[in-house]
Amino acid sequence: MEEFLQQFINGLTVGGIYALIALGYTMVYGVLKLINFAHGDLFTIGAYLGFTLLTSFGLADKIGPFAAIAVLALMVMGLVAVIGIVLERAAYRPLRNSPRLSAVVSALGASIFFQNAVMLIYGARFHVYPQNLLPKIALNVFGLYVPFVKILVLVASVAMMVGLYVFIQRTTIGAAIRAAAIDQGAAKLVGIDVNGVITLVFVIGPALGGLAGLMVGLLYGQIKFTMGWLYGLKAFTAAILGGIGNIPGAMLGGLILGVVEALGSAYISIAWKDAIAFCVLILILIVRPTGLLGERVAEKV
């Protein structure tokens, strides 16, 4: 039982990270009906920017580890958001009225571009985040010892998700995003700046993805330029699992995927970890073809 709970918490932590990345996929898909294959690489860029900022300024010594991480997170989110806006302008906006598969190839091209740009700048080797940044303590949660960094990641990702959910559901700008996702033409007619909404989506999604990159750096300590595609693929799986275009679905999908993976690798086989995740996805899609929370879309007639 104790091992089960331990694995469950591990799964929730990773799942929180998947969910943060999945939000970027699902928001972009919701508004543009485009799978942003470069999103996983924005996540990698977040991890590497976090590494650079962390090692070059020595913020942790000046203002303490917690303030340093908070400042760092804001900087990473801001920078990755700028890259996200540039990506949308350069690679997606010119293709908005083209066949959908062309935009997918453009996204794949952007992914290759970013991945190789990171490799050329930082080199192909692993990079190691500074250790001893966070206090190496484990907290006692109901008799389980959970490392502090995991709690931090879990709390931060849940806070981000709740914040985003409230933003989307309760604010006027959130309503505009929802309107643009349902029908762009009608949204324009009632005076919503759809281009502005799309830009905003490319601010929020990449910012969350970049934050997830920073979290992975802090959690595992090791980053590599190719890591984006596996995390991206998992997060995309999570988004589909929950029903793509659906924001709570992405959160739920991420957490479920993380837990299934952690339990699967603990009780079945670690070598089959990724295969288990995809098998669960396929089984769920056979039963529910539009994902767990995806609404039944009427076929156009």
């Binding site: 898909y29 799978i35 350069a90 690679a91 010119p94 293709l95 083209s98 066949p99 959908r100 598969l101 062309s102 935009a103 997918v104 190839v105 453009s106 794949l108 091209g109 952007a110 992914s111 290759i112 571009f113 970013f114 991945q115 190789n116 740009a117 490799m119 050329l120 595609w229 693929l233 995309f236 799986t237 589909i240 793509i244 086989s269 070598a271 089959w272 990724d274 295969a275 995809f278 098998c279 996805l281 396929i282 899609l285 056979i286 073809p289 539009t290 994902g291 879309v297 076929e299 156009k300 007639v301």
Partner: protein, 319 residues
């Protein structure tokens, strides 16, 4: 369109026929790889271009064909050429089993499922499923093709083997395009609902195109296995599926000539950018974006189908 096509092949075939006589073995082998990707692209084109199914896991069927050939050849010593249809059947059967329950999924859902299938196959191969795939090292010692006592060995031998296969495929696929199945697929891609209301069983035709595409990829897997004599899971990664998908869309989905051009570009561009050393994939990625922006329909878009009805002919005579 047909005249154009005839001229194109009248020019292209002789040039390709003498190419290995003037090229050195390195470039001949590059053309061999172009040929293999052209075949894979043509098979994927049936699924993506004709049926409009979003398949980003085509490498899985390629892998099934290659491993079927490799295992039957190394364990039972069956000549590799005899195994070409067997590889095709294995891949086609696998596609049928996989696709049957998921063929009705909407575009992007199908995309992630095919990616997932591709990954599951790769992971299964790495983990030495059933103890027959050789794990991460793969299978080696696959025999060369024997043709009437002649062993295909050098790049030039394989060149003719692969490119004859390419042109046979092109011929068959042009026939397929204009067959009942091909016309049904064309209709289905243009408008699913209208096609269904005209009595076209869309799930059936989608499945047919998926299985034929997989069958062909399986046969190409056999050729690949006999060419390399050693295969390992890394030859069938997600990246391979991305290359196949990209060359189809870049060349022009649904267009046979487009796919051929796409294969030349996808394999050729990184060769041309080789002078840029480490930065070549950076330029390749940028080139993909730029080409899509300027030619969103692909370099050679599929033309509109035109069927000529000859009113003067007597009714009994077929066109």
């Amino acid at each position: 369109m047909t005249i154009n096509r005839k001229k194109l092949y009248l020019i292209a075939v002789p040039i390709l026929a003498i190419a290995p006589l003037v090229l050195n073995p390195y470039w001949t082998d590059v053309l061999n790889i172009v040929g293999l990707y052209a075949l894979l692209g043509l098979s994927l084109n049936l699924i993506v271009g004709h049926a409009g199914l979003f398949n980003l896991g085509h490498a899985a069927f390629y892998a099934v064909g290659a491993y079927t050939a490799a295992i039957l050849n190394t364990v039972f010593h069956i000549p590799i050429l005899w195994l070409i249809p067997v590889s095709g059947f294995a891949a086609g059967l696998f596609a049928l089993v996989i696709a049957r329950p998921i063929i009705h999924l909407r575009g992007d859902y199908l995309c992630i499922v095919t990616i997932g299938v591709g990954e599951i196959v790769r992971i299964a191969l790495v983990n030495d499923i059933f103890g027959i795939t050789g794990g991460a090292n793969g299978i080696f010692g696959i025999s060369r093709p024997h043709l009437f006592g002649f062993v295909l060995r050098s790049p030039a031998h394989f060149y003719y083997y692969i490119w004859v296969f390419v042109f046979v495929t092109i011929f068959l696929f042009i026939r397929l395009e204009n067959s009942r199945v091909g016309r049904a697929l064309n209709y289905l891609r243009e408008d699913e609902v209208a096609a269904e209301s005209c009595g076209i069983n869309i799930a059936h035709y989608k499945l047919v195109s998926f299985v034929i595409g997989a069958f062909w990829a399986g046969m190409v897997g056999n050729i690949f296995a006999s060419k390399m004599t050693i295969i390992s899971p890394e030859s069938f990664s997600f990246w391979e599926s991305v290359i196949m998908f990209t060359l189809v869309i870049l060349g022009g989905a649904g267009s046979i000539e487009g796919v051929l051009l796409g294969a030349f570009l996808i394999i050729g561009l990184p060769e041309i950018f080789r002078g840029l050393a480490d930065a070549r994939m950076l330029f390749f990625g940028a080139a993909m974006i730029v080409m899509m922006i300027f030619r969103p329909e692909g370099l050679i878009p599929a033309g509109k189908r035109q069927y000529h009805i000859d009113m003067d002919r007597s009714q009994g005579e077929s066109e």
